[in-house]
Symmetry: C2
Subunit: 199 residues, 2 copies
Protein backbone atom coordinates (compact mmCIF):
# COMPACT_ATOMS: atom_id res chain seq x y z
CA UNK A 1 0.00 0.00 0.00
CA UNK A 2 1.75 3.12 -1.19
CA UNK A 3 -1.17 5.50 -0.72
CA UNK A 4 -4.04 6.36 1.61
CA UNK A 5 -7.51 4.92 1.04
CA UNK A 6 -9.07 7.14 -1.63
CA UNK A 7 -11.30 9.34 0.58
CA UNK A 8 -8.34 10.06 2.87
CA UNK A 9 -6.11 10.85 -0.12
CA UNK A 10 -8.76 13.23 -1.40
CA UNK A 11 -8.96 15.04 1.95
CA UNK A 12 -5.16 15.35 2.12
CA UNK A 13 -5.23 16.79 -1.39
CA UNK A 14 -7.96 19.32 -0.55
CA UNK A 15 -6.19 20.41 2.64
CA UNK A 16 -2.94 20.88 0.73
CA UNK A 17 -4.60 23.48 -1.48
CA UNK A 18 -4.75 25.84 1.48
CA UNK A 19 -2.00 28.41 2.00
CA UNK A 20 0.89 27.31 4.20
CA UNK A 21 -0.29 23.68 4.31
CA UNK A 22 2.34 21.27 2.96
CA UNK A 23 2.06 17.50 2.53
CA UNK A 24 3.06 16.77 6.16
CA UNK A 25 0.64 19.26 7.69
CA UNK A 26 -2.12 18.09 5.35
CA UNK A 27 -1.60 14.50 6.50
CA UNK A 28 -1.59 15.51 10.15
CA UNK A 29 -4.80 17.53 9.72
CA UNK A 30 -6.51 14.76 7.72
CA UNK A 31 -5.68 12.17 10.39
CA UNK A 32 -6.87 14.56 13.09
CA UNK A 33 -10.18 15.00 11.28
CA UNK A 34 -10.46 11.27 10.68
CA UNK A 35 -10.03 10.57 14.37
CA UNK A 36 -12.08 13.53 15.61
CA UNK A 37 -15.62 12.89 16.84
CA UNK A 38 -18.38 13.23 14.20
CA UNK A 39 -19.53 16.37 16.09
CA UNK A 40 -16.10 18.00 15.87
CA UNK A 41 -15.80 17.29 12.15
CA UNK A 42 -19.35 18.56 11.54
CA UNK A 43 -18.59 21.74 13.52
CA UNK A 44 -15.77 22.48 11.09
CA UNK A 45 -17.68 21.73 7.89
CA UNK A 46 -20.68 23.72 9.16
CA UNK A 47 -18.42 26.67 10.00
CA UNK A 48 -17.00 26.62 6.46
CA UNK A 49 -20.50 26.46 4.97
CA UNK A 50 -21.78 29.28 7.14
CA UNK A 51 -18.89 31.53 6.20
CA UNK A 52 -19.54 30.89 2.51
CA UNK A 53 -23.28 31.51 2.88
CA UNK A 54 -23.37 34.44 5.28
CA UNK A 55 -20.21 36.48 4.88
CA UNK A 56 -20.17 39.02 2.07
CA UNK A 57 -18.55 42.37 1.34
CA UNK A 58 -20.08 45.44 2.98
CA UNK A 59 -21.66 47.45 0.10
CA UNK A 60 -20.19 50.68 1.51
CA UNK A 61 -16.59 49.88 2.47
CA UNK A 62 -16.10 46.27 1.20
CA UNK A 63 -15.11 44.97 4.64
CA UNK A 64 -16.38 41.46 5.52
CA UNK A 65 -19.78 41.33 7.14
CA UNK A 66 -22.70 39.03 7.81
CA UNK A 67 -25.07 42.00 8.13
CA UNK A 68 -26.49 44.54 5.67
CA UNK A 69 -23.60 46.90 6.42
CA UNK A 70 -20.42 46.08 8.29
CA UNK A 71 -20.02 46.73 12.00
CA UNK A 72 -17.86 49.79 11.40
CA UNK A 73 -20.10 51.40 8.76
CA UNK A 74 -23.08 50.77 11.03
CA UNK A 75 -21.38 52.35 14.07
CA UNK A 76 -22.41 56.03 14.41
CA UNK A 77 -19.47 56.69 16.76
CA UNK A 78 -16.88 56.12 14.02
CA UNK A 79 -15.62 59.36 12.54
CA UNK A 80 -16.72 59.62 8.91
CA UNK A 81 -14.39 62.52 8.21
CA UNK A 82 -11.32 60.25 8.16
CA UNK A 83 -11.23 57.38 5.67
CA UNK A 84 -8.46 54.78 5.92
CA UNK A 85 -7.82 52.94 2.62
CA UNK A 86 -6.49 49.36 2.83
CA UNK A 87 -5.88 46.65 0.25
CA UNK A 88 -7.66 43.77 1.99
CA UNK A 89 -10.11 43.24 4.84
CA UNK A 90 -7.38 41.45 6.79
CA UNK A 91 -5.40 44.71 6.83
CA UNK A 92 -8.44 46.41 8.32
CA UNK A 93 -8.53 43.73 11.03
CA UNK A 94 -4.83 44.34 11.78
CA UNK A 95 -5.45 48.10 12.13
CA UNK A 96 -8.47 47.47 14.36
CA UNK A 97 -6.37 45.24 16.62
CA UNK A 98 -4.00 48.19 17.11
CA UNK A 99 -7.08 50.13 18.32
CA UNK A 100 -5.67 53.54 17.36
CA UNK A 101 -7.94 54.44 14.48
CA UNK A 102 -11.49 55.65 15.04
CA UNK A 103 -12.50 56.71 11.54
CA UNK A 104 -13.95 54.60 8.76
CA UNK A 105 -12.33 52.30 6.21
CA UNK A 106 -12.38 51.55 2.51
CA UNK A 107 -11.18 48.16 1.32
CA UNK A 108 -9.76 48.21 -2.23
CA UNK A 109 -9.97 44.41 -2.62
CA UNK A 110 -6.46 44.26 -4.04
CA UNK A 111 -3.56 46.36 -5.25
CA UNK A 112 -2.62 47.56 -8.71
CA UNK A 113 -0.33 44.89 -10.16
CA UNK A 114 0.20 45.00 -13.95
CA UNK A 115 2.19 41.74 -13.71
CA UNK A 116 -0.90 39.93 -12.44
CA UNK A 117 -3.23 41.80 -14.78
CA UNK A 118 -4.78 43.86 -11.98
CA UNK A 119 -5.41 47.41 -13.17
CA UNK A 120 -7.01 50.28 -11.21
CA UNK A 121 -10.42 49.43 -12.69
CA UNK A 122 -10.38 46.02 -10.90
CA UNK A 123 -10.20 47.76 -7.52
CA UNK A 124 -12.87 49.63 -5.56
CA UNK A 125 -11.38 53.02 -6.47
CA UNK A 126 -14.48 54.43 -8.17
CA UNK A 127 -16.50 53.59 -5.05
CA UNK A 128 -13.82 55.31 -2.93
CA UNK A 129 -14.03 58.51 -4.98
CA UNK A 130 -17.85 58.46 -4.73
CA UNK A 131 -17.58 58.18 -0.94
CA UNK A 132 -15.05 61.01 -0.74
CA UNK A 133 -17.41 63.21 -2.73
CA UNK A 134 -20.59 62.26 -0.89
CA UNK A 135 -19.68 61.50 2.73
CA UNK A 136 -18.00 64.74 3.86
CA UNK A 137 -14.57 63.10 4.03
CA UNK A 138 -11.77 65.50 5.11
CA UNK A 139 -8.78 63.15 5.10
CA UNK A 140 -7.92 59.97 3.21
CA UNK A 141 -5.19 57.88 4.88
CA UNK A 142 -3.53 55.51 2.41
CA UNK A 143 -2.64 52.44 4.46
CA UNK A 144 -1.60 50.01 1.73
CA UNK A 145 1.55 48.02 2.51
CA UNK A 146 4.92 49.68 1.83
CA UNK A 147 5.64 47.42 -1.16
CA UNK A 148 6.02 48.21 -4.86
CA UNK A 149 2.33 47.47 -5.48
CA UNK A 150 1.18 49.19 -2.29
CA UNK A 151 3.17 52.33 -3.05
CA UNK A 152 2.02 52.44 -6.69
CA UNK A 153 -1.62 52.01 -5.67
CA UNK A 154 -1.27 54.73 -3.01
CA UNK A 155 0.25 57.16 -5.56
CA UNK A 156 -2.47 56.43 -8.09
CA UNK A 157 -5.23 57.07 -5.53
CA UNK A 158 -3.51 60.17 -4.15
CA UNK A 159 -3.52 61.69 -7.65
CA UNK A 160 -7.27 61.07 -7.94
CA UNK A 161 -8.27 62.21 -4.44
CA UNK A 162 -6.14 65.40 -4.20
CA UNK A 163 -8.17 67.28 -6.91
CA UNK A 164 -11.29 66.71 -4.76
CA UNK A 165 -9.83 69.13 -2.19
CA UNK A 166 -9.28 66.46 0.46
CA UNK A 167 -6.13 65.92 2.55
CA UNK A 168 -4.28 62.75 1.50
CA UNK A 169 -1.79 61.08 3.87
CA UNK A 170 0.30 57.90 3.83
CA UNK A 171 1.00 55.73 6.91
CA UNK A 172 4.48 56.26 8.37
CA UNK A 173 7.36 54.04 7.35
CA UNK A 174 10.17 53.34 9.80
CA UNK A 175 11.59 50.85 12.23
CA UNK A 176 9.07 48.46 13.78
CA UNK A 177 8.53 48.80 17.55
CA UNK A 178 11.25 46.78 19.27
CA UNK A 179 13.18 46.70 15.99
CA UNK A 180 16.95 46.79 15.70
CA UNK A 181 18.80 49.17 13.38
CA UNK A 182 21.42 46.51 12.91
CA UNK A 183 18.85 44.14 11.38
CA UNK A 184 16.83 46.66 9.38
CA UNK A 185 17.26 46.87 5.60
CA UNK A 186 18.60 50.06 4.05
CA UNK A 187 15.24 51.13 2.63
CA UNK A 188 13.63 50.95 6.07
CA UNK A 189 16.48 52.95 7.64
CA UNK A 190 16.33 55.55 4.86
CA UNK A 191 12.57 55.94 5.33
CA UNK A 192 12.95 56.09 9.12
CA UNK A 193 15.47 58.96 8.78
CA UNK A 194 13.33 60.72 6.19
CA UNK A 195 10.30 60.49 8.48
CA UNK A 196 12.09 61.68 11.63
CA UNK A 197 10.11 63.91 13.95
CA UNK A 198 11.13 66.57 16.44
CA UNK A 199 11.08 65.49 20.07
Amino acid sequence: MRAYPRPLARLVEELQKMPGIGPKSAQRLALYLLQASPEEAAALTEAVKEVKEKIHACPVCFNFTDAERCEICADPRRDGRVLCVVAEARDLLALERAGEFHGRYHVLQGLISPMDGVGPESLRIRELLDRVREEGVEEVILATNPTVEGDATASHIADLVRPLGVKVTRIALGLPAGGDLDYADEMTIARALEGRREM
Copy 2:
Protein backbone atom coordinates in the same frame (compact mmCIF):
# COMPACT_ATOMS: atom_id res chain seq x y z
CA MET B 1 -14.74 46.42 15.43
CA ARG B 2 -12.45 44.29 17.53
CA ALA B 3 -13.55 40.95 16.16
CA TYR B 4 -14.54 39.17 12.97
CA PRO B 5 -18.18 38.87 11.95
CA ARG B 6 -19.55 35.95 13.97
CA PRO B 7 -19.48 33.22 11.24
CA LEU B 8 -15.87 34.10 10.45
CA ALA B 9 -14.93 34.08 14.16
CA ARG B 10 -16.52 30.66 14.49
CA LEU B 11 -14.55 29.27 11.54
CA VAL B 12 -11.28 30.67 12.93
CA GLU B 13 -12.14 29.02 16.25
CA GLU B 14 -12.87 25.64 14.63
CA LEU B 15 -9.69 25.75 12.54
CA GLN B 16 -7.65 26.56 15.64
CA LYS B 17 -8.73 23.29 17.25
CA MET B 18 -6.62 21.41 14.71
CA PRO B 19 -3.08 20.36 15.60
CA GLY B 20 -0.34 22.83 14.66
CA ILE B 21 -2.84 25.57 13.72
CA GLY B 22 -2.33 28.73 15.78
CA PRO B 23 -4.38 31.95 15.67
CA LYS B 24 -2.40 33.39 12.72
CA SER B 25 -2.67 30.24 10.58
CA ALA B 26 -6.35 29.86 11.48
CA GLN B 27 -7.02 33.41 10.30
CA ARG B 28 -5.09 32.86 7.08
CA LEU B 29 -6.98 29.61 6.37
CA ALA B 30 -10.37 31.16 7.22
CA LEU B 31 -9.75 34.10 4.88
CA TYR B 32 -8.60 31.71 2.17
CA LEU B 33 -11.80 29.68 2.52
CA LEU B 34 -13.89 32.86 2.61
CA GLN B 35 -12.38 34.02 -0.66
CA ALA B 36 -12.22 30.59 -2.33
CA SER B 37 -14.87 29.74 -4.92
CA PRO B 38 -17.99 27.98 -3.59
CA GLU B 39 -16.80 24.85 -5.46
CA GLU B 40 -13.41 24.86 -3.72
CA ALA B 41 -14.98 25.27 -0.29
CA ALA B 42 -17.52 22.53 -1.03
CA ALA B 43 -14.72 20.21 -2.21
CA LEU B 44 -13.10 20.54 1.20
CA THR B 45 -16.25 20.05 3.28
CA GLU B 46 -17.29 17.09 1.10
CA ALA B 47 -13.85 15.53 1.53
CA VAL B 48 -14.13 15.84 5.32
CA LYS B 49 -17.63 14.32 5.26
CA GLU B 50 -16.56 11.45 3.03
CA VAL B 51 -13.63 10.62 5.27
CA LYS B 52 -15.90 10.54 8.31
CA GLU B 53 -18.50 8.40 6.53
CA LYS B 54 -16.33 6.00 4.59
CA ILE B 55 -13.05 5.50 6.43
CA HIS B 56 -13.04 2.98 9.25
CA ALA B 57 -10.58 0.63 10.88
CA CYS B 58 -9.82 -2.63 9.06
CA PRO B 59 -11.38 -5.40 11.22
CA VAL B 60 -8.21 -7.50 10.83
CA CYS B 61 -5.27 -5.14 11.35
CA PHE B 62 -6.98 -1.82 12.35
CA ASN B 63 -5.36 0.11 9.51
CA PHE B 64 -7.54 2.79 7.87
CA THR B 65 -9.68 1.57 5.00
CA ASP B 66 -12.76 2.44 2.99
CA ALA B 67 -13.23 -1.21 2.02
CA GLU B 68 -14.26 -4.34 3.92
CA ARG B 69 -10.61 -5.13 4.63
CA CYS B 70 -7.65 -2.81 4.15
CA GLU B 71 -5.54 -2.88 0.99
CA ILE B 72 -2.73 -4.75 2.72
CA CYS B 73 -4.90 -7.41 4.38
CA ALA B 74 -6.66 -7.92 1.02
CA ASP B 75 -3.36 -8.29 -0.88
CA PRO B 76 -2.46 -12.00 -1.27
CA ARG B 77 1.15 -11.07 -2.14
CA ARG B 78 1.86 -9.72 1.35
CA ASP B 79 3.71 -12.22 3.53
CA GLY B 80 1.44 -13.30 6.41
CA ARG B 81 4.31 -14.95 8.26
CA VAL B 82 5.75 -11.60 9.35
CA LEU B 83 3.60 -9.23 11.37
CA CYS B 84 4.77 -5.67 12.02
CA VAL B 85 3.17 -4.08 15.08
CA VAL B 86 2.76 -0.28 15.10
CA ALA B 87 1.03 2.17 17.43
CA GLU B 88 -0.93 4.16 14.85
CA ALA B 89 -1.99 3.85 11.21
CA ARG B 90 0.22 6.84 10.37
CA ASP B 91 3.26 4.76 11.48
CA LEU B 92 2.15 2.07 9.03
CA LEU B 93 2.01 4.70 6.28
CA ALA B 94 5.56 5.81 7.17
CA LEU B 95 6.82 2.22 6.97
CA GLU B 96 5.03 1.70 3.64
CA ARG B 97 6.68 4.82 2.24
CA ALA B 98 10.06 3.24 3.04
CA GLY B 99 8.93 0.31 0.87
CA GLU B 100 11.14 -2.25 2.64
CA PHE B 101 8.53 -4.33 4.44
CA HIS B 102 6.44 -6.89 2.59
CA GLY B 103 4.66 -8.60 5.46
CA ARG B 104 1.43 -7.61 7.18
CA TYR B 105 0.70 -5.10 9.93
CA HIS B 106 -1.15 -4.82 13.19
CA VAL B 107 -2.13 -1.36 14.46
CA LEU B 108 -2.42 -1.15 18.25
CA GLN B 109 -4.40 2.13 18.14
CA GLY B 110 -2.21 3.63 20.84
CA LEU B 111 0.54 2.88 23.34
CA ILE B 112 0.42 1.88 26.99
CA SER B 113 0.51 5.12 28.97
CA PRO B 114 -0.55 4.87 32.63
CA MET B 115 -0.25 8.68 32.94
CA ASP B 116 -3.02 9.08 30.35
CA GLY B 117 -5.06 6.17 31.72
CA VAL B 118 -4.25 3.93 28.73
CA GLY B 119 -3.71 0.35 29.89
CA PRO B 120 -2.95 -2.70 27.72
CA GLU B 121 -6.66 -3.56 27.60
CA SER B 122 -7.40 -0.34 25.68
CA LEU B 123 -5.12 -1.47 22.85
CA ARG B 124 -5.66 -4.10 20.15
CA ILE B 125 -3.35 -6.59 21.91
CA ARG B 126 -5.94 -9.35 22.34
CA GLU B 127 -6.64 -9.16 18.60
CA LEU B 128 -2.90 -9.34 17.93
CA LEU B 129 -2.51 -12.51 20.01
CA ASP B 130 -5.49 -14.08 18.23
CA ARG B 131 -3.87 -13.32 14.86
CA VAL B 132 -0.51 -14.77 15.97
CA ARG B 133 -2.29 -17.96 17.04
CA GLU B 134 -4.51 -18.29 13.98
CA GLU B 135 -2.62 -16.86 10.98
CA GLY B 136 0.58 -18.92 10.97
CA VAL B 137 2.71 -15.96 12.04
CA GLU B 138 6.42 -16.79 12.43
CA GLU B 139 7.81 -13.41 13.44
CA VAL B 140 6.37 -10.36 15.21
CA ILE B 141 8.33 -7.14 14.60
CA LEU B 142 7.65 -4.55 17.29
CA ALA B 143 7.86 -1.22 15.48
CA THR B 144 6.55 1.13 18.15
CA ASN B 145 8.54 4.37 18.54
CA PRO B 146 11.69 4.28 20.68
CA THR B 147 10.06 6.31 23.48
CA VAL B 148 9.20 5.40 27.09
CA GLU B 149 5.67 4.40 26.06
CA GLY B 150 6.79 2.69 22.87
CA ASP B 151 9.45 0.66 24.67
CA ALA B 152 7.08 -0.30 27.52
CA THR B 153 4.39 -1.39 25.07
CA ALA B 154 6.92 -3.41 23.04
CA SER B 155 8.16 -5.18 26.22
CA HIS B 156 4.64 -5.95 27.33
CA ILE B 157 3.71 -7.46 23.96
CA ALA B 158 7.01 -9.36 23.70
CA ASP B 159 6.23 -11.08 27.02
CA LEU B 160 2.83 -12.17 25.70
CA VAL B 161 3.95 -13.30 22.23
CA ARG B 162 7.12 -15.21 23.19
CA PRO B 163 5.20 -18.03 24.97
CA LEU B 164 3.33 -18.66 21.70
CA GLY B 165 6.60 -19.94 20.20
CA VAL B 166 6.97 -17.05 17.78
CA LYS B 167 10.11 -15.01 17.09
CA VAL B 168 9.81 -11.48 18.50
CA THR B 169 12.05 -8.66 17.21
CA ARG B 170 12.34 -4.94 17.80
CA ILE B 171 13.19 -2.37 15.07
CA ALA B 172 16.81 -1.21 15.22
CA LEU B 173 17.77 1.93 17.09
CA GLY B 174 20.73 3.95 15.96
CA LEU B 175 21.82 7.02 14.08
CA PRO B 176 19.40 8.26 11.42
CA ALA B 177 20.62 8.06 7.82
CA GLY B 178 22.70 11.14 7.13
CA GLY B 179 22.90 11.77 10.88
CA ASP B 180 25.91 13.21 12.67
CA LEU B 181 27.46 11.64 15.78
CA ASP B 182 28.28 15.12 17.00
CA TYR B 183 24.59 16.06 17.07
CA ALA B 184 23.17 12.75 18.33
CA ASP B 185 22.02 12.44 21.95
CA GLU B 186 23.82 9.98 24.24
CA MET B 187 20.96 7.48 24.27
CA THR B 188 20.99 7.26 20.49
CA ILE B 189 24.77 6.80 20.42
CA ALA B 190 24.60 4.15 23.16
CA ARG B 191 21.92 2.24 21.22
CA ALA B 192 23.87 2.60 17.97
CA LEU B 193 26.95 1.04 19.62
CA GLU B 194 24.89 -1.68 21.28
CA GLY B 195 23.26 -2.55 17.95
CA ARG B 196 26.54 -2.61 15.99
CA ARG B 197 26.81 -5.29 13.29
CA GLU B 198 29.76 -7.10 11.77
CA MET B 199 30.82 -5.82 8.35
